[in-house]
């Protein structure tokens, strides 16, 4: 800050209408001055760079995302909850091998199977014991069953009560989970005797699958690529934040200007509406609105406009009240310029600095609000998750250690809001004369 007592320095300009002389260049435009002031803080510059990257990612999301996370045809629930860095594979080959067993007949078995892998052929024979309480089955696989080729084997279709000599029965389902190697020789036993023919259903899942892509940030509970979902989510967040900000600004600004310019009853009415609106928490108003009009991007934007315009109206009015009584406005009026022209061409430009600041910060607020609404389950549709909904979905998986579903979208949201706030803070510093660092 400039030391006011330092008389040797240049004269202080309390309104900040001119930059410090050593940096000032005659004819420098206000925008260039703002820019040069802005870069004084490296934190703000970092924020701006982050923000630009985020905007780039959001705008380019459909091009740079490995997957369209909103296309149900592209996501596969079979690949849900994969950790970061996991590969997306084609479905591994699966074979259903049906082995018809007759407890009264010993000898070769009739075996049908479908699919071309992991096995080319299976033959086998069964040897029931005398009282048919146990049947020894031997199966010959070509190529032999090995761990490298077979990922999982399940055996189903046993007579109720019968047991396999290999593997373990699932705790509540009817199939047995069987180790790959044991598949060539096993017994089926039932102390009560096996009296009717049955068909053993063997499901062998191979391991070969082709790598399609890598899920760098893992997948969510529906098999959605988190990286793509975050890119698309950023796009929704920014779209909602910016669009609702622009419309709220336009409405709020107009109302504020009208209130300040006309004063009296119009001012009272508008400002009381603003007061009433501001006395309710924004989230409450938005919740009620969305409960009535339903979810969806358009509705969220609408709700956020209704929630936010009051902030802009109040800010504009206070700024316009100061400007309204200045000589240049009087001069404009004396020239018999139309009211809209005085309002929008003369008063408004001089109210812009605080509006820019409020606008930036409100965009961050709107993004946070949208995320909150989605988190509560009334924002975006389920199949088009925004960051808030992604975080909410991941919340269910936090206790089980699958942090990535919640944490990564959370970090993305955090960075976005911090970046906007850093930029907004710096804008406030340089546009607010009282906080200006002129030294």
């Amino acid at each position: 800050m400039t030391d006011i007592a330092d008389t040797s320095g240049p004269p202080v300009d309390p309104l900040g209408t001119a930059a410090a002389p050593e940096k000032s260049v005659r004819g420098q435009s206000p925008w260039r001055r703002v820019a040069s002031d802005f870069v004084e803080s490296w934190v703000a510059v970092l924020g701006l760079i982050l923000l630009l990257i985020i905007i780039f990612v959001a705008v380019m999301a459909p091009i740079i995302s490995p997957q369209n996370p909103y296309d149900l045809n592209q996501i596969r629930v079979e690949e849900s909850r994969l950790p970061p860095g996991a590969a997306s594979m084609t479905t591994p080959p699966t074979q259903d091998i049906d082995v018809a067993i007759d407890p009264t007949v010993a000898g070769p078995l009739s075996i049908t199977f479908n699919g071309e892998a992991p096995f080319a052929s299976v033959t086998g024979e069964a040897t029931p014991n005398e009282d048919a309480t146990s049947i020894a089955v031997s199966l010959t696989f070509d190529p032999p069953a090995t761990i490298e080729r077979v990922a999982r084997v399940r055996v189903d279709g046993l007579p109720r009560g019968a047991e396999l000599s290999i593997g373990e029965k699932h705790s509540f389902r009817s199939f047995w989970e069987v180790p790959t190697e044991g598949l060539s020789q096993f017994d089926i036993t039932d102390a009560d005797g096996i009296d009717a023919p049955f068909t053993l259903e063997i499901e062998a899942v191979g391991t070969e699958g082709e790598v399609l892509m890598t899920y760098w940030l893992g997948t969510d509970g529906q098999g959605r690529d988190m990286l793509s979902a975050i890119f698309y989510g950023l796009e929704i967040s920014l779209r909602v934040g910016v669009l609702s900000g622009i419309f709220a600004l336009a409405i709020g600004m107009s109302m504020g200007l009208i209130a300040a310019y006309y004063g009296g009853r119009i001012d009272s009415v508008i400002m009381r509406i603003v007061d009433i609106q501001l006395s309710f928490p924004a989230i409450l108003v938005a919740l009620i609105l969305l409960a009535i009009i339903g979810r969806g991007v358009g509705n969220v934007i609408l709700a956020l406009i209704i929630v936010q315009w009051a902030y802009y109206a109040r800010t504009t009015r206070s700024a316009a009240l100061v400007e309204r009584n200045k000589e240049y406005v009087e001069a404009a009026r004396c020239l018999a310029l139309s009211t809209p022209r005085v309002l929008f061409r003369h008063i408004l430009p001089n109210c812009m600095p605080p509006l820019i600041v409020i606008g930036t910060l409100q965009v961050a607020n709107a993004i946070a609000l949208e995320a909150t609404l989605s988190f509560l389950g009334i924002g975006m549709p389920l199949t088009e998750p925004s960051l808030g909904l992604l975080i909410a979905n991941g919340f269910d998986f936090m206790l089980s250690g699958r942090y990535w579903i919640s944490v990564f979208p959370g970090v993305a949201l955090l960075i976005t809001i911090i970046a906007i706030n850093l930029v907004g803070d710096q804008l406030r510093d340089i546009l607010n004369p009282r906080l200006r660092r002129d030294g």
């Binding site: 296309d71 149900l72 045809n73 996501i75 596969r76 629930v77 079979e78 849900s80 909850r81 705790s171 509540f172 389902r173 009817s174 509970g221 529906q222 098999g223 389950g377 549709p381 389920l382 199949t383 919340f395 269910d396 998986f397 936090m398 206790l399 089980s400 250690g401 699958r402």
Partner: protein, 523 residues
């Protein structure tokens, strides 16, 4: 008189393994709270499980919904198949000390189906009763117009209240606790909606002495919070352990898990009645004739669902793929129905045959706070429908909104679940698939309005067949017709998981109820 005697000894060992009192307070956290303390107001699991503590039924249901003697020591049809006789237990007193008599039974059966403003009452279970005859203080005869073989199953759902208190009593009075007088092992002491229900041991209980001094049931709707409350020691038992956490909790020495198959099937109901259906349009909009009228389209939707993937991925293995209305082992299940194999190619062929080769646009509806992972299941099904060329959207909503709208037939394809209250197949067949007929109480939850006279005829016959084996065969046959027609599309059976302190365990129940009586020391 040929009464089929049910000896007390038949009471399963399971229930009796509970030790005598170990004098402690038990806190149970459930996912959703009871809507009322009136035992006859709302027939829903959240309410019924509370009522099982405070009231007795003539006939109780064990953990697998097997029938056990309750306030009736023995029962059965008399020589006249239209008359059932119940021999009541002697020496039972209500919580206020007055004796329980046949008159209370007569009063209860009159009240159960006749509670004002009841959102779904017990009328289905009492509708068959023509009159109740009190023979003496401990004998009751129930007269019906036709044989009702399921009388015992039906009555095993109805809480017996006291006439002295219940006469003219309103639901509000039950909520306030003034008239909530039963004969059950626990007494209602406090009911704070949204926060807790507190019950204390009934020292004069006729059966096994209650094991806990007080039982507090708290609703904690967030799964994560429920698990956290158990881990923190705030509660002793939680219902509905979320599937995502089960693997983790299995390795946690501070928690013991109990798991059991439920009688609840999760299924898609399809609007197979109206010419136009509200939630299906041509791709890109535009009205089309309701494709679900075509049996081939319904079959295509069924084949398009990879039930194994839903169970393995969405339910993380904690469910059973379903091809009919009850899991194997239940009464009336057909052995001839396999779980439909996932076959998207065949599904597309069927769609093309039906003239929908280019697909159509459909919005799936379901609740997001009722069944285990309901919204996630719905999204997975949407994915699978997209794979056969349908343009699919998902709208999941809170149950408070959902069920009302579903019953108003606002949806075309909806995810619903049904637990068989009687523990056998006639319950879902009658409620979900029978032609909607409010007078008979049939098809009350038939939100797709499927109607097949052949099916109705077989079900009617089944419900009047006293011979168990014949009735079971008829129920299986009715099930086969319904599944052949794709009246509904079953996806999976729920498997429930309870979490307890490590020194306790829970005896899993197929009816999904969480009961203090089922909480026993770990072995």
């Amino acid at each position: 008189m040929s009464l089929r005697k049910f000896a007390l000894a038949a009471t399963t060992a399971l229930v009796l393994t509970a030790p005598a009192a170990w004098a402690e307070d038990l806190v149970i956290a459930v996912a959703s709270e009871a809507t009322s303390m009136d035992p006859h107001f709302h027939n829903t699991g959240n309410n019924n499980q509370i009522m099982r503590h405070i009231y007795d039924r003539l006939i109780n249901q064990g953990p697998n919904q097997e029938l056990l003697p309750g306030l009736a020591e023995s029962w059965g049809p008399t020589d006249d198949p239209n008359v059932w006789e119940f021999n009541l237990r002697q020496g039972v007193t209500f919580h206020d000390g007055t004796p329980f008599t046949a008159d209370d039974v007569a009063f209860t059966l009159g009240r159960a189906g006749d509670v004002p403003n009841s959102p779904s009452g017990f009328g289905t279970y009492t509708a068959d009763i023509a009159s109740v005859e009190v023979i003496d203080d401990h004998t009751v005869r129930i007269h019906t117009d036709a044989p009702v073989p399921l009388m015992a199953n039906n009555l095993s759902t109805i809480s017996i209240v006291s006439r002295a208190h219940g006469e003219g009593a309103t639901t509000e009075q039950y909520n306030a606790g003034d008239v909530a007088i039963g004969t059950g092992p626990y007494r209602q002491t406090e009911y704070v909606p949204g926060d807790r229900i507190v019950m204390e041991a009934n020292p004069d209980y006729w059966g096994e002495a209650p094991a806990w001094d007080t039982v507090t049931v708290r609703p904690i709707s967030s799964s994560a919070s429920r698990v956290a409350a158990l881990l923190a020691g705030d509660v002793d038992v939680i219902a509905n352990v979320p599937t995502a956490d089960i693997a983790q909790l299995e390795d946690n020495p501070d928690v013991s898990l109990s798991q059991g198959v439920s009688n609840r099937v999760i299924y898609l109901h399809l609007d197979s009645d109206r010419e136009q259906t509200p939630m299906i349009t041509a791709i890109g909009g535009g009205d089309i004739e309701n494709p679900l009228l075509d049996q081939r389209v319904r079959e295509a939707l069924s084949l398009a669902i990879d039930r194994e993937a839903i169970v393995e991925e969405v339910m993380e293995g904690i469910a059973i793929p379903a091809g009919q209305l009850l899991p194997e082992g239940f009464f009336g299940v057909s052995d001839n129905i396999d779980v439909p194999e996932y076959d998207p190619e065949r599904a597309q062929e069927l769609l093309a045959e039906a003239g929908y080769g280019d697909g159509f646009a459909v919005t799936l509806h379901g609740p997001n706070d009722r069944y285990i992972n309901d919204a996630a299941v719905l999204q997975a099904i949407a994915q699978m429908f997209s794979r056969i060329g349908l343009e699919t959207q998902v709208d999941a909503m809170p149950r408070s909104v959902y069920f009302g709208r579903a019953s108003d037939l606002e949806f075309s394809v909806m995810l619903v679940g049904w637990g068989s209250g009687t523990g056998e197949a006639s319950s879902p067949l009658r409620a979900l698939i029978a032609t909607n007929n409010p007078d008979l109480g049939w098809g009350a939850s038939n939100r797709g309005r499927y109607s097949n006279p052949e099916f109705d005829a077989i079900l009617t016959e089944a419900l009047q067949t006293v011979n168990d084996a014949e009735r079971e065969a008829l129920l299986a046959q009715a099930t086969e017709i319904a599944m052949q027609d794709i009246a509904i599309i079953p996806t999976h059976f729920q498997v429930n998981t309870w979490g307890t302190r490590p020194d306790l365990q829970y005896i899993p129940r197929t009816d999904e109820y969480t009961l203090a009586i089922g909480v026993v020391p770990a072995d």
